[in-house]
C-alpha cells in the first residue's frame, strides 16, 4: 500500500512533465510556423544544409540556441528550433525525475536501471 502510494507521486510527476512539455512544444511550433509565414510570405521547406538542425550534438545546439535567444531576436526558425528542443527535453526530463525519485525512495534496483537509461541517453545526446 505504501509502495503504491509513493509510486503514485512519481506517476503524477511524470504525467505533468509530459503534458507540460508537449503543450509548450506544440504551441512554440504553431507560433513558429505562423511567424515564418508572416516574415517570408510562404511556408516553403527548403532542404538546404543551413536549414538542417545540424550541430555536433543536441546539447551544443540547445546551448547555442538559448544563447542566441537570450540576446533577443527570436526569429521564426529559432522559435521552431526551440519547440523541437523542448520536445526532445520532455522525455529526458521524465527520466531525470525518475532517477531523483528512485534515489530519494532508496530503491537501488530502479535507481540503477533509470540511471542506465539516463546515461545512455545523455551519451547519445552528447554524441560521445
Amino acid at each position: 500500500m505504501k509502495r503504491a502510494l509513493s509510486e503514485e507521486k512519481l506517476d503524477s510527476l511524470i504525467s505533468y512533465i509530459l503534458i507540460f512539455g508537449v503543450l509548450v512544444s506544440v504551441a512554440l511550433e504553431a507560433l513558429g510556423i505562423a511567424g515564418y509565414y508572416s516574415s517570408n510570405g510562404n511556408l516553403n521547406i527548403l532542404f538546404r544544409p543551413s536549414f538542417a538542425m545540424k550541430e555536433t550534438d543536441f546539447f551544443s545546439y540547445a546551448g547555442k540556441l538559448f544563447q542566441e535567444l537570450s540576446m533577443g531576436g527570436w526569429s521564426p526558425m529559432q522559435v521552431l528550433g526551440l519547440g523541437i528542443v523542448v520536445l526532445m527535453l520532455t522525455p529526458y526530463l521524465r527520466v531525470v525525475a525518475s532517477v531523483l525519485y528512485f534515489g530519494l525512495a532508496r530503491n537501488p534496483k530502479y535507481l540503477l536501471i533509470t540511471l542506465f537509461v539516463l546515461l545512455v541517453l545523455t551519451a547519445s545526446l552528447l554524441q560521445l
Binding site: 503504491a4 509510486e7 503514485e8 512519481l10 506517476d11 503524477s12 511524470i14 504525467s15 505533468y16 509530459l18 503534458i19 512539455g21 508537449v22 512544444s25 506544440v26 511550433e29 504553431a30 513558429g32 510556423i33 515564418y36 510562404n42 511556408l43 516553403n44 521547406i45 527548403l46 532542404f47 538546404r48 544544409p49 536549414f51 538542417a52 538542425m53 545540424k54 550541430e55 555536433t56 550534438d57 543536441f58 545546439y61 526558425m77 521552431l80 528550433g81 519547440g83 523541437i84 520536445l87 526532445m88 520532455t90 522525455p91 529526458y92 527520466v95 525518475s98 534496483k109 530502479y110 536501471i113 533509470t114 542506465f116 537509461v117 545512455v120 541517453l121 547519445s124 545526446l125 554524441q127
Partner: protein, 286 residues
C-alpha cells in the same frame, strides 16, 4: 524519386505537411499504426528523401507518444517500472538502428520499411485482444524486478491485479523493437505490444499504454543520432509534430464510436497501400 534533391528544391510546404500530418495522426491513432508509419511513405511519395522523412518522424513520435502517455500514466494503467526496465533495451536498439540508417543506402530502407509494416498485422491477432492473463507463475527475475501491478478497468468495472513473467526474454526482444523503431522512424507499437502480451504476459491495456510510454524515450534515443547526422529539418519536423499530435488527439476521441469492422477494413487498406508504395519506391530507386 526520393533522393534527387538539390539544395534549392521545393518539394512540399509546411501547410501541406501540417494537413497531411493531421490525417496521418488521425488514421494512425484509429488503426493503431501510429502517425510515423503512415507519414513516412506519404512524404516519400511527395519526393521527400526517405532519410529526412524518417528523422522528422522520429522527433514527431516523441510528441504523440508523450501526449497520449500522460493521461494513462496518471490513471496508473501504465506500468512505469516495466517501462524503465524495457527502455534499457529499446534505447540501445534505437541508437544502433538510427546509426545504421545514417549510413545505409536509402534503397534498403524502403524494403525494410515494407517488411516491418507486416508486423502491424500482429495487432489484429485475436489472442492479443483476449482476457486478462490468468494464473501467471512469476519467475524469480521478474519478481526481483517488481514487475506486477494493478489498475481499475473501466470496461470490466473491476480492479485488475497482474504479475509479469519472462523478463529475461522480454528485454532482449525489445532490443529488436528499438532497432526497427530507430532505423525506420516509427514507434513499432504492434511489435512491442506483442512482446508485452505474448512473452511478458501483460494485460492488454497495460501493454498498449506501457508501449506508448516506451515509444517516447526510444524515439528520443533515435532522434539524438539523426540530430548529429544533419538529417533533421526543423521545417519538416515542426508541422509534423503539430499535425500528428492534433490528429491523434481527435482519432483517440472518436475511436470508441466507430464499428470494429470499419476500423479493421481501414487498417487493411492503409497497410496494403503503404507496403505497395514503399516496395514501389524501393524497386524504382536507383
Amino acid at each position: 524519386m526520393g533522393q534527387k534533391v538539390g539544395p534549392e528544391s521545393k518539394l512540399i510546404d509546411m501547410l501541406s505537411v501540417l494537413i497531411i500530418s493531421i490525417f496521418a495522426g488521425f488514421l494512425g491513432s484509429l488503426t493503431g499504426l501510429g502517425g510515423g508509419s503512415i507519414m513516412i511513405p506519404v512524404l516519400v511519395a511527395f519526393g521527400v528523401p526517405v532519410k529526412y522523412a524518417i528523422a522528422a518522424s522520429m522527433v514527431t513520435i516523441i510528441a504523440t507518444s508523450s501526449g497520449s502517455a500522460a493521461s494513462y500514466v496518471k490513471e496508473r494503467i501504465t506500468n512505469v517500472k516495466a517501462a524503465f526496465y524495457l527502455e534499457m533495451f529499446t534505447i540501445v536498439g534505437a541508437i544502433i538502428g538510427a546509426t545504421i540508417t545514417s549510413f545505409i543506402a536509402p534503397r534498403f530502407l524502403y524494403f525494410f520499411f515494407a517488411g516491418f509494416l507486416l508486423t502491424s498485422f500482429l495487432g489484429l491477432s485475436e489472442h492479443l485482444r483476449g482476457e486478462f492473463p490468468k494464473r501467471v507463475k512469476q519467475d524469480r527475475f521478474s519478481k526481483w524486478l517488481e514487475l506486477d501491478g494493478s489498475y481499475y478497468d473501466e470496461a470490466a468495472k473491476k480492479k485488475v491485479s497482474y504479475k509479469m513473467k519472462n523478463a529475461h526474454l522480454g528485454g532482449p526482444c525489445m532490443l529488436i523493437a528499438g532497432l526497427a523503431a530507430g532505423m525506420l522512424g516509427i514507434g513499432a507499437g504492434a511489435f512491442k505490444v506483442s512482446i508485452h502480451e505474448l512473452i511478458l504476459k501483460m494485460p492488454s491495456k497495460v501493454s498498449t499504454t506501457t508501449s506508448n510510454f516506451i515509444i517516447g524515450i526510444t524515439a528520443l534515443a533515435g532522434a539524438s543520432v539523426y540530430f548529429a547526422s544533419g538529417l533533421l529539418f526543423v521545417g519538416l519536423a515542426a508541422p509534423m509534430a503539430v499535425g500528428t499530435t492534433v490528429g491523434a488527439l481527435v482519432g483517440g476521441r472518436i475511436l470508441n464510436r466507430l464499428p470494429n469492422r470499419l476500423v479493421r477494413y481501414l487498417f487493411l487498406v492503409i497497410v496494403v497501400a503503404l507496403i505497395v508504395q514503399m516496395l514501389y519506391e524501393g524497386i524504382t530507386s536507383t
